[in-house]
Protein backbone atom coordinates (compact mmCIF):
# COMPACT_ATOMS: atom_id res chain seq x y z
CA UNK A 1 0.00 0.00 0.00
CA UNK A 2 1.38 3.42 -0.91
CA UNK A 3 2.28 5.60 2.01
CA UNK A 4 0.61 8.95 2.16
CA UNK A 5 3.25 11.62 2.45
CA UNK A 6 3.02 14.29 5.10
CA UNK A 7 4.08 17.83 4.30
CA UNK A 8 7.28 18.40 6.27
CA UNK A 9 6.96 22.19 6.44
CA UNK A 10 3.42 21.97 7.78
CA UNK A 11 4.44 19.28 10.27
CA UNK A 12 7.22 21.55 11.53
CA UNK A 13 4.69 24.36 11.78
CA UNK A 14 2.35 22.18 13.83
CA UNK A 15 5.17 21.32 16.27
CA UNK A 16 6.18 24.97 16.57
CA UNK A 17 2.57 25.97 17.23
CA UNK A 18 2.36 23.34 19.94
CA UNK A 19 5.56 24.51 21.64
CA UNK A 20 4.32 28.09 21.54
CA UNK A 21 0.95 27.20 23.06
CA UNK A 22 2.26 24.95 25.81
CA UNK A 23 5.41 26.09 27.54
CA UNK A 24 5.64 23.02 29.74
CA UNK A 25 6.44 20.94 26.63
CA UNK A 26 10.16 21.18 25.92
CA UNK A 27 10.69 18.84 22.97
CA UNK A 28 8.32 17.70 20.24
CA UNK A 29 9.34 15.05 17.75
CA UNK A 30 7.76 13.34 14.79
CA UNK A 31 9.31 9.98 14.00
CA UNK A 32 8.59 7.39 11.34
CA UNK A 33 7.12 4.15 12.69
CA UNK A 34 10.35 2.23 12.14
CA UNK A 35 12.24 4.62 14.35
CA UNK A 36 13.72 7.21 12.02
CA UNK A 37 13.50 10.91 12.91
CA UNK A 38 11.27 13.07 10.72
CA UNK A 39 11.00 16.46 12.46
CA UNK A 40 12.30 17.49 15.86
CA UNK A 41 11.75 20.84 17.61
CA UNK A 42 14.12 21.83 19.24
CA UNK A 43 16.89 19.28 19.61
CA UNK A 44 16.49 16.90 22.57
CA UNK A 45 19.36 15.85 24.81
CA UNK A 46 19.66 12.53 23.00
CA UNK A 47 20.57 12.14 19.33
CA UNK A 48 17.43 12.41 17.15
CA UNK A 49 18.00 8.92 15.73
CA UNK A 50 18.00 7.42 19.19
CA UNK A 51 15.00 9.43 20.37
CA UNK A 52 13.02 8.38 17.29
CA UNK A 53 14.01 4.74 17.78
CA UNK A 54 12.95 4.83 21.42
CA UNK A 55 9.62 6.44 20.55
CA UNK A 56 8.89 3.77 17.94
CA UNK A 57 9.81 0.99 20.39
CA UNK A 58 7.44 2.38 23.01
CA UNK A 59 4.53 2.62 20.59
CA UNK A 60 5.19 -0.89 19.23
CA UNK A 61 5.44 -2.33 22.73
CA UNK A 62 2.27 -0.48 23.71
CA UNK A 63 0.40 -2.02 20.77
CA UNK A 64 1.81 -5.49 21.52
CA UNK A 65 1.05 -5.39 25.23
CA UNK A 66 -2.54 -4.26 24.67
CA UNK A 67 -3.00 -6.92 22.02
CA UNK A 68 -1.63 -9.64 24.32
CA UNK A 69 -3.84 -8.50 27.20
CA UNK A 70 -6.90 -8.11 25.01
CA UNK A 71 -7.08 -4.52 26.18
CA UNK A 72 -8.05 -2.77 22.97
CA UNK A 73 -6.17 -0.26 20.88
CA UNK A 74 -3.43 2.15 21.87
CA UNK A 75 -4.15 5.79 22.52
CA UNK A 76 -0.81 6.90 23.98
CA UNK A 77 2.13 5.68 26.02
CA UNK A 78 3.05 7.72 29.08
CA UNK A 79 6.47 7.49 30.68
CA UNK A 80 6.27 9.48 33.89
CA UNK A 81 9.63 10.35 35.43
CA UNK A 82 10.85 12.48 38.33
CA UNK A 83 12.35 15.03 35.93
CA UNK A 84 9.96 14.82 33.02
CA UNK A 85 6.99 13.23 31.30
CA UNK A 86 7.14 11.60 27.89
CA UNK A 87 3.93 11.09 25.92
CA UNK A 88 4.12 9.06 22.72
CA UNK A 89 1.25 8.36 20.32
CA UNK A 90 0.55 7.41 16.71
CA UNK A 91 -0.66 10.22 14.49
CA UNK A 92 -4.19 9.32 13.36
CA UNK A 93 -4.78 9.32 9.64
CA UNK A 94 -1.12 8.66 8.89
CA UNK A 95 -1.72 4.95 8.35
CA UNK A 96 0.53 4.32 11.33
CA UNK A 97 3.40 6.08 9.55
CA UNK A 98 4.06 8.88 12.03
CA UNK A 99 4.65 8.87 15.75
CA UNK A 100 4.44 11.99 17.91
CA UNK A 101 6.66 12.16 20.98
CA UNK A 102 6.39 15.01 23.47
CA UNK A 103 8.71 15.62 26.38
CA UNK A 104 7.15 17.78 29.08
CA UNK A 105 8.35 19.12 32.42
CA UNK A 106 7.68 16.78 35.33
CA UNK A 107 5.23 19.26 36.90
CA UNK A 108 3.23 19.68 33.69
CA UNK A 109 -0.47 18.81 34.04
CA UNK A 110 -0.97 15.51 32.25
CA UNK A 111 -4.43 16.41 30.98
CA UNK A 112 -3.03 19.53 29.39
CA UNK A 113 -0.13 17.69 27.73
CA UNK A 114 -2.48 15.00 26.40
CA UNK A 115 -4.88 17.63 25.10
CA UNK A 116 -2.10 19.46 23.28
CA UNK A 117 -0.75 16.17 21.95
CA UNK A 118 -4.15 15.34 20.52
CA UNK A 119 -4.69 18.67 18.81
CA UNK A 120 -1.14 18.65 17.44
CA UNK A 121 -1.62 15.11 16.08
CA UNK A 122 -4.87 16.19 14.47
CA UNK A 123 -3.19 19.18 12.87
CA UNK A 124 -0.48 16.90 11.49
CA UNK A 125 -2.92 14.33 10.14
CA UNK A 126 -4.54 17.18 8.20
CA UNK A 127 -1.23 17.82 6.44
CA UNK A 128 -1.15 14.52 4.57
CA UNK A 129 -1.10 15.77 1.05
CA UNK A 130 -0.66 13.05 -1.54
CA UNK A 131 0.41 9.45 -2.07
CA UNK A 132 4.17 9.97 -2.22
CA UNK A 133 6.51 8.27 0.25
CA UNK A 134 8.06 10.68 2.75
CA UNK A 135 11.21 12.44 1.56
Amino acid sequence: MALKAPDRARCTQALDDLLRRCDSISVAMLALRDGRPYVERPAAKVAPGKFAAMASSLVALGHSVLRELGAGTLDHVLVDGSEGKLVVSSVPGSNGLLILALLARHDARLGLVLGHAKSCANAISATFADERAPA
Binding site: A53, M54, L61, E68, L97, P134
Partner: protein, 189 residues
Protein backbone atom coordinates in the same frame (compact mmCIF):
# COMPACT_ATOMS: atom_id res chain seq x y z
CA UNK B 1 11.15 -24.52 39.79
CA UNK B 2 11.96 -24.79 36.09
CA UNK B 3 15.36 -23.44 35.19
CA UNK B 4 15.30 -20.78 32.51
CA UNK B 5 18.03 -19.64 30.15
CA UNK B 6 17.95 -16.36 28.33
CA UNK B 7 19.20 -16.37 24.76
CA UNK B 8 19.53 -13.18 22.72
CA UNK B 9 19.61 -12.89 18.92
CA UNK B 10 21.32 -9.93 17.30
CA UNK B 11 22.28 -9.38 13.67
CA UNK B 12 21.56 -7.27 10.61
CA UNK B 13 18.02 -6.50 9.44
CA UNK B 14 16.83 -9.55 7.53
CA UNK B 15 19.21 -11.99 9.23
CA UNK B 16 16.16 -13.94 10.39
CA UNK B 17 15.87 -13.14 14.12
CA UNK B 18 12.11 -12.61 14.15
CA UNK B 19 11.56 -15.58 11.85
CA UNK B 20 13.65 -17.74 14.17
CA UNK B 21 11.87 -16.78 17.39
CA UNK B 22 8.45 -17.17 15.75
CA UNK B 23 9.36 -20.55 14.23
CA UNK B 24 10.79 -22.28 17.29
CA UNK B 25 8.73 -20.76 20.10
CA UNK B 26 6.28 -23.01 21.95
CA UNK B 27 4.14 -20.04 22.91
CA UNK B 28 2.68 -17.47 20.51
CA UNK B 29 5.64 -15.12 20.06
CA UNK B 30 5.58 -11.49 21.05
CA UNK B 31 6.45 -9.40 18.02
CA UNK B 32 6.96 -5.68 17.59
CA UNK B 33 7.35 -5.45 13.83
CA UNK B 34 6.16 -2.46 11.81
CA UNK B 35 6.14 -1.75 8.07
CA UNK B 36 9.56 -0.69 6.76
CA UNK B 37 9.71 2.91 5.51
CA UNK B 38 13.22 2.79 3.96
CA UNK B 39 15.14 0.67 1.40
CA UNK B 40 14.69 -2.37 3.62
CA UNK B 41 11.15 -2.51 2.19
CA UNK B 42 12.70 -3.89 -1.02
CA UNK B 43 13.87 -6.91 0.96
CA UNK B 44 10.98 -7.51 3.32
CA UNK B 45 7.77 -5.95 4.52
CA UNK B 46 8.34 -5.45 8.22
CA UNK B 47 11.16 -4.77 10.67
CA UNK B 48 11.41 -5.13 14.44
CA UNK B 49 11.42 -1.91 16.48
CA UNK B 50 11.48 -3.16 20.07
CA UNK B 51 11.97 -6.89 20.53
CA UNK B 52 10.85 -10.41 19.74
CA UNK B 53 10.07 -12.81 22.56
CA UNK B 54 9.35 -16.51 22.61
CA UNK B 55 9.93 -19.58 24.78
CA UNK B 56 11.21 -23.04 24.00
CA UNK B 57 10.75 -26.03 26.29
CA UNK B 58 13.99 -27.97 26.76
CA UNK B 59 12.36 -30.77 28.76
CA UNK B 60 14.21 -31.67 31.98
CA UNK B 61 16.90 -29.10 31.18
CA UNK B 62 14.46 -26.22 31.61
CA UNK B 63 13.13 -23.49 29.37
CA UNK B 64 14.86 -21.30 26.85
CA UNK B 65 13.69 -17.69 26.78
CA UNK B 66 14.31 -16.28 23.32
CA UNK B 67 14.82 -12.59 22.71
CA UNK B 68 15.39 -10.94 19.35
CA UNK B 69 16.61 -7.37 19.00
CA UNK B 70 16.04 -4.97 16.11
CA UNK B 71 18.83 -5.13 13.54
CA UNK B 72 19.52 -1.42 13.08
CA UNK B 73 22.18 0.21 15.25
CA UNK B 74 19.78 3.00 16.24
CA UNK B 75 18.00 0.46 18.49
CA UNK B 76 21.14 -0.45 20.35
CA UNK B 77 19.70 0.81 23.64
CA UNK B 78 17.29 -2.15 23.60
CA UNK B 79 20.23 -4.30 24.62
CA UNK B 80 20.12 -2.67 28.06
CA UNK B 81 16.50 -3.76 28.40
CA UNK B 82 17.36 -7.44 27.94
CA UNK B 83 20.99 -7.73 29.11
CA UNK B 84 20.28 -8.97 32.65
CA UNK B 85 21.06 -12.66 33.11
CA UNK B 86 21.86 -13.59 29.52
CA UNK B 87 23.17 -17.10 28.94
CA UNK B 88 24.57 -15.99 25.63
CA UNK B 89 24.23 -14.02 22.44
CA UNK B 90 23.66 -15.42 18.96
CA UNK B 91 24.97 -13.24 16.16
CA UNK B 92 22.81 -14.20 13.20
CA UNK B 93 24.10 -13.58 9.67
CA UNK B 94 22.20 -13.95 6.38
CA UNK B 95 24.81 -16.07 4.60
CA UNK B 96 23.02 -15.66 1.26
CA UNK B 97 23.45 -11.89 1.29
CA UNK B 98 26.36 -10.57 -0.74
CA UNK B 99 26.87 -7.88 1.90
CA UNK B 100 27.07 -10.50 4.66
CA UNK B 101 30.58 -9.53 5.80
CA UNK B 102 29.82 -5.80 5.75
CA UNK B 103 26.61 -6.39 7.69
CA UNK B 104 28.46 -8.50 10.23
CA UNK B 105 31.07 -5.79 10.68
CA UNK B 106 28.31 -3.32 11.53
CA UNK B 107 26.76 -5.70 14.05
CA UNK B 108 30.12 -6.36 15.68
CA UNK B 109 30.88 -2.65 15.84
CA UNK B 110 27.52 -2.02 17.49
CA UNK B 111 27.74 -4.79 20.08
CA UNK B 112 31.49 -5.43 20.47
CA UNK B 113 31.54 -4.57 24.18
CA UNK B 114 28.57 -6.79 24.99
CA UNK B 115 29.86 -9.64 22.86
CA UNK B 116 33.21 -9.59 24.64
CA UNK B 117 31.63 -10.01 28.04
CA UNK B 118 29.01 -12.66 27.17
CA UNK B 119 29.42 -16.09 25.57
CA UNK B 120 28.47 -15.82 21.93
CA UNK B 121 28.01 -17.90 18.80
CA UNK B 122 28.10 -16.65 15.25
CA UNK B 123 25.42 -18.45 13.25
CA UNK B 124 25.37 -18.36 9.46
CA UNK B 125 21.70 -18.57 8.51
CA UNK B 126 19.56 -19.17 5.40
CA UNK B 127 22.29 -21.06 3.52
CA UNK B 128 22.51 -24.89 3.54
CA UNK B 129 26.24 -24.82 2.85
CA UNK B 130 27.87 -21.44 3.49
CA UNK B 131 31.07 -20.92 1.43
CA UNK B 132 34.34 -21.46 3.29
CA UNK B 133 35.45 -17.98 2.28
CA UNK B 134 32.55 -16.45 4.22
CA UNK B 135 33.37 -18.55 7.26
CA UNK B 136 36.94 -17.31 7.10
CA UNK B 137 35.82 -13.71 6.68
CA UNK B 138 33.61 -14.06 9.73
CA UNK B 139 36.44 -15.49 11.81
CA UNK B 140 38.71 -12.65 10.70
CA UNK B 141 36.09 -10.08 11.64
CA UNK B 142 35.64 -11.66 15.05
CA UNK B 143 39.38 -11.59 15.66
CA UNK B 144 39.55 -7.99 14.44
CA UNK B 145 37.01 -7.05 17.11
CA UNK B 146 38.81 -8.99 19.82
CA UNK B 147 36.10 -11.63 19.93
CA UNK B 148 36.28 -15.38 20.31
CA UNK B 149 33.25 -17.30 19.12
CA UNK B 150 32.46 -20.46 17.21
CA UNK B 151 31.11 -19.94 13.69
CA UNK B 152 28.39 -22.41 12.84
CA UNK B 153 25.88 -22.94 10.08
CA UNK B 154 22.19 -23.11 11.04
CA UNK B 155 18.66 -23.06 9.81
CA UNK B 156 17.36 -20.77 12.51
CA UNK B 157 13.79 -21.85 11.76
CA UNK B 158 14.60 -25.33 13.05
CA UNK B 159 14.14 -26.11 16.68
CA UNK B 160 17.03 -28.58 16.80
CA UNK B 161 19.42 -25.94 15.49
CA UNK B 162 18.40 -23.49 18.20
CA UNK B 163 18.83 -26.23 20.81
CA UNK B 164 22.29 -26.93 19.34
CA UNK B 165 23.18 -23.25 19.78
CA UNK B 166 21.99 -23.42 23.38
CA UNK B 167 24.15 -26.47 24.07
CA UNK B 168 27.15 -24.82 22.50
CA UNK B 169 26.71 -21.66 24.58
CA UNK B 170 26.32 -23.81 27.66
CA UNK B 171 29.65 -25.45 26.89
CA UNK B 172 31.30 -22.09 26.33
CA UNK B 173 29.97 -20.91 29.66
CA UNK B 174 31.25 -23.99 31.46
CA UNK B 175 34.66 -24.09 29.86
CA UNK B 176 35.26 -20.50 28.88
CA UNK B 177 36.55 -19.13 25.62
CA UNK B 178 39.77 -17.54 26.75
CA UNK B 179 42.99 -18.27 24.93
CA UNK B 180 43.84 -18.73 21.29
CA UNK B 181 44.01 -22.51 21.61
CA UNK B 182 40.33 -22.77 22.44
CA UNK B 183 39.70 -20.44 19.57
CA UNK B 184 41.43 -22.79 17.18
CA UNK B 185 39.53 -25.80 18.44
CA UNK B 186 36.08 -24.32 18.18
CA UNK B 187 36.68 -22.19 15.12
CA UNK B 188 34.46 -24.32 12.94
CA UNK B 189 31.98 -26.80 14.37
Amino acid sequence: MTKTYKLLFVGEPGAGKTTCVAAVSDIPPLTTDVGCTDELADLKETTTVALDYGELDLGPQGRLLLYGLPGQARFRYMFDVVREGLLGIVVLVDATCERAATNLRETLQTYAGELRSTPCVLALNKHPDPPASLQQQCQALLTEHGLVAPVISVDARKREDVVRIFELLFLLLEHGTDGPQDDEEIAWL
